[in-house]
Amino acid sequence: MSTPAILPSGTSPGSDSTAKITKKILVLGATSGIAEATCRIWAAQGAQMFLIARNPEKLAAVAADLKTRGAAYVGTAVADLDDTDKHAELLSHAINSLTGMDVAYLAYGILGDEPRAEQDFEHAAQILHSNFVAPVSLLTWLANFCVQRHAGLLAVISSVAGDRGRKSNYLYGSSKAGLTAYLAGLRNRIDREGVTVLTIKPGPVKTAMTASMKGSEKFADVNKVAATIVKAIDAKKDNLYVPFQWQPIMFIIRNIPDRIFKKLNL
């Protein structure tokens, strides 16, 4: 794990002369395909954003794109979000740069290599850490920040894969199942404090992360998925299946009895 570096950049949010009040959004894992597509929509709306990602070249490319598209402010920090020790410092720096935060968008996670994770516990633990432990660390800090202010929205990308473990991706799936359960509990705790928790469960989406998967050309269009996520955040929804047809599909998959399910190839 590399040492995280905090590299603030961008112009001061106060320098924008327009009086328009725009959303202040913190994006964790900003170079992921879904996050980038979502940020493009916010940029066109003139949002203020702070982006955190690990790879400096990719982060710079995304930031330049969002600035060009009309974001009122784009700040960035390069960091490895697996490093939970640095989370508090990183998040407070980001929110100071944004001078506040309306939405935290957590798009951080890895697909992992399922066959490898079945044999190699270290890899399995890596998947659980990146998709569950590290997000819990981030959300602990962010939830408490929001609760103090009785405001804010935490939008977190989980996955339909977390709805039921399947042999094809149960390490990834169980990490997301843990995240989904954590978010349900967090919502139950802090919704009454005025903080919205949105659990986003995308089905397979066409992005760099899924490019090597079989049938990826039939996956959902990332821009349509992003537009749906932006709407769900605006509507302060609790849960979102995207594309929507995954809701009935997962309902069926959750309800197949194990004596049948265990024989299926899913």
């Binding site: 990719k58 330049a64 794109d65 598209r69 760099a208 490019a211 090597s212 990826s216």
Partner: protein, 466 residues
Amino acid sequence: MSLSTAEPEALNTPPEAAREPDRAPPAFQSWGRYPKYGAKVVPLNWQGDFPAVLAGSQDSALPVGLGRSYGDVCLLKDGTLLQTTGMNRLIDFDPQTGILTAESGISLAQILDFAVPRGFFLPVTPGTKYVTLGGAIANDIHGKNHEVAGSFGNHVPCFELVRSDGSRRLCSRTENPDWYAATIGGMGLTGLITWAQLRLRPIVSRGIDYEGIQFHGIDEFLDLKQKYQHVEYTVSWVDCVSTGKNFARGIFMAGDHSKVPGELKPSPEPKLVFPFDAPAFTLNRLSVSAFNTVFFHKQGNAHVKAVHDYEPFFYPLDAVLRWNRLYGKRGLVQFQYAIPWEHAKEGTIAILREIAKSGLASFLAVLKAFGDIPSLGMMSFPQAGIMFALDFPIKPGITFPLLQRLGDMTLDYGGRLYPAKDAAMTAAQFQTFYPEWQRFARFRDPMLTSSFWERVTDSTGAKPTL
């Protein structure tokens, strides 16, 4: 970087063999859907992905965009196609100069979505907006305003070229000018264009002040071209089936960006998708002839004026996604020439006669004049004179011999064919059309090639698969 493995099986079946039951199509097809070659498709999502994705690979590779060129210029049989469409970020835009800097995989449609609401438009646009910036440079594409604007490369002040050895070059007229000239129209063979600048032009409305005028024959077409030389965009549809008094009748279409300010909203997403591969008999002399008669008379009067939105004016066929399926699963080939003024008229009449005689023409035929603004690319297609383009359905044993004759006629009249639209020109024809080809070959990246390039530089003089 993971590899998306495509259908590995090569499908280079000649049209005669295409009656076999449908096999799984290759993952990447050119717009003509001919030839069909298996290849591995590797996405390039970030500027740093190339040449790293080629590490350890012995295969040749070719950068490709949206696959809207018609033949094999965007194909590489059994090789690796590096698809740039994920590399579609904006880098900078200066509203004072109109200069947009963007990654090369951005499509012209995506550029328009950004530019039009800000009061800017493409300096040159082809008949589809579903091409990438990199592809537009690599084929030095042209539009309806060639006479006043030249070709696409004339509006690209600079770009970055990355070679498979990892070297990077900033290319402009003054910096690395030879690499600049080789890469504009360089068919993706000189390296990967990671980003480029494009000089956009201001507009105040989506509207186009349009005039459509019927003409009968090439003389009337040339008179109209003269009369409308003050208009920015001109193009003609021509009937390639009729003979006798209706020979070379057509509609001359002229347009300027409207000067009356209007709402600059982005275009809606197209909704229609051509749903299936049309059967082989769909396009025949009768159906095309009927279409042509209806199309010729559809405007009611010999001369109409109207204000049209830019979408139907520039991109009438983009309204139906995958319209190439109209030509059935065998696909289509396009024939597109530019003949210099010296022989432009006689050449065009002779070639149109030959096409009408064949009875093979489709209704998608375009006639236009190229102006004399020189293209900046060493291998650019446009040259002053008459440009003509026509789609043919692939009919076994008929289409390719006709294309051979038409190619030779083009050569006799001093013209040239357009690699981006070609699936049939011979090595001998290509090497006469593009006398700079050997100088250009020195700029080719040793790791990059295309099925087109292999075909037209084949030293054995072997003919293409017919």
